[in-house]
């Protein structure tokens, strides 16, 4: 008798339902299977209408984030066997996001917030090509590398109570990405981002719950990024009193040597 596991999956069809409900599926428990494999099995063999997002199935695209037994997880990285034989595994769409259908959530809010933090290199001057590439030492790379690992899976938003309670809160991933660019010595846009984010819906909305860091599959530590950003913003605020007239952002080192 092959091992089995039961998945209780949230179903929601807007043309038919007012609210989500759970549907149970029995799935073979293969040793190497992850939750995503179970979902694919169900869609393949049991119910083709099951709707969910996935892509790379190896933890780098960030598409398959869902709540598994109440925890935000990448379903391609969560092994069924860790729940034990004959266990019930509850699969729901990512928390704190609007549900479009079944396990698919609407991400437009996040994308707007992401754009607002300007996650790209901002330059005040554009050196001519003849000067060559921007050079960066391993130490300079190390300053921001951790925050660059974000795959935009949004598990951190599903974990952050502030993101759930306050729709306007920019949120962990976006703030960590802003900090990734602030710390990149090729970037000259810290002041521009700070003007946007030193705001009650930006960094000051964060209360350092720390859940975002705990659930992040890429160990980005967005909570740490935000606290560092707060310190920087606070020092900047102090400076704005000591040098009130257009204090220049002096954090940038020359990117060329």
């Amino acid at each position: 008798m092959a091992d089995k596991i039961v998945l209780q999956i949230a179903r929601y069809a807007p043309e038919r339902d007012q609210a989500p409900s759970f549907q149970s599926f029995e799935v073979p428990l293969r040793k190497e299977w992850v939750v995503l494999d179970a979902l694919n099995y169900i869609k393949d063999k049991v119910d083709g209408t099951l709707t969910y997002r996935w892509s790379c199935r190896m933890g780098i695209c960030g598409s398959c984030g869902m709540m598994v037994n109440g925890e935000p997880k990448l379903t391609c990285a969560t092994f069924l066997s860790s729940y034990g034989n004959n266990a019930k595994v509850r699969v729901e769409p990512l928390r704190y996001f609007p549900v479009v259908r079944d396990l698919v959530t609407a991400l437009s809010d996040f994308l707007v917030k992401l754009q607002k933090v300007k996650p790209w290199l901002i330059r005040k001057d554009q050196p001519p090509l003849s000067e060559g590439e921007f050079l960066q030492t391993p130490e300079q790379l190390d300053l921001y590398k951790q925050f660059s690992m974000c795959i935009n899976c949004m598990l951190c938003y599903a974990a952050c109570p502030v993101a759930g309670l306050d729709q306007e809160f920019v949120g962990p991933a976006a703030l960590a990405l802003a900090q990734r660019y602030n710390l990149d010595n090729r970037d000259q846009g810290s002041a521009e981002r700070l003007a946007m984010l030193a705001h009650p819906d930006g960094i000051w909305g964060c209360t350092f719950v720390g859940e975002c860091t705990r659930v992040c599959p890429k160990h980005v530590d967005p909570a740490g990024a935000i606290q560092q950003y707060k310190l920087r913003a606070a020092l900047d605020w102090v400076k704005s009193f000591i040098l009130p007239r257009g204090h220049e952002d002096t954090h940038q080192e020359a990117a060329h040597d």
Partner: protein
């Protein structure tokens, strides 16, 4: 306007109705990690309690030895002892979570590599112990 894309989309006539669950007032009871966070935040009440206690203590001191003796007697009542024991636990909880989390706001780099967090937290603990020992000595020494 502060409309988000989500709001606009939900109101379009031919757009599917998205389901949005309202976050319960008791969201913080739903998970141990959330509860731990709220307890950490509520430790601030114990800190305020201690400051209040200190203010009463200062007032009692300024009113003379009899008033102060009455104050210390009141501290021996079971209710006050229980409240202070609870407050002490919360204050300890605050101190430990504070020292453990503070390094996250200030990454220390030496020789191009990041110093591990417990090494950054350690001087805080050391300072705590030294200051506490000094205060204890000041209060307990018989001049």
């Amino acid at each position: 306007m502060t409309e988000t894309i989500t709001d606009q989309a939900a109101r379009t006539e031919f757009h599917p109705r998205w389901y949005r669950e309202r976050v319960s007032t008791w969201w913080w009871l739903g998970e141990w990690h959330y509860l731990k966070f709220i307890l950490r935040e509520l430790s601030s009440i114990s800190v305020a309690w201690f400051v209040g206690l200190t203010l009463f203590q200062l007032r009692a001191l300024s009113h003379g030895p009899e008033t102060y003796a009455r104050f210390t007697d009141r501290l021996q009542s079971p209710v006050m002892l229980a409240l202070n024991a609870i407050a002490f636990c919360f204050v300890l909880f605050h101190a430990i979570t504070w020292f453990n989390l503070a390094p996250r706001a200030m990454p220390v780099r030496m020789g191009g590599k990041r110093v591990p967090e417990f090494l950054v937290a350690a001087p805080n603990y050391a300072l705590w112990i030294v200051v506490s020992a000094f205060v204890g000595w000041l209060l307990l020494r018989t001049p």
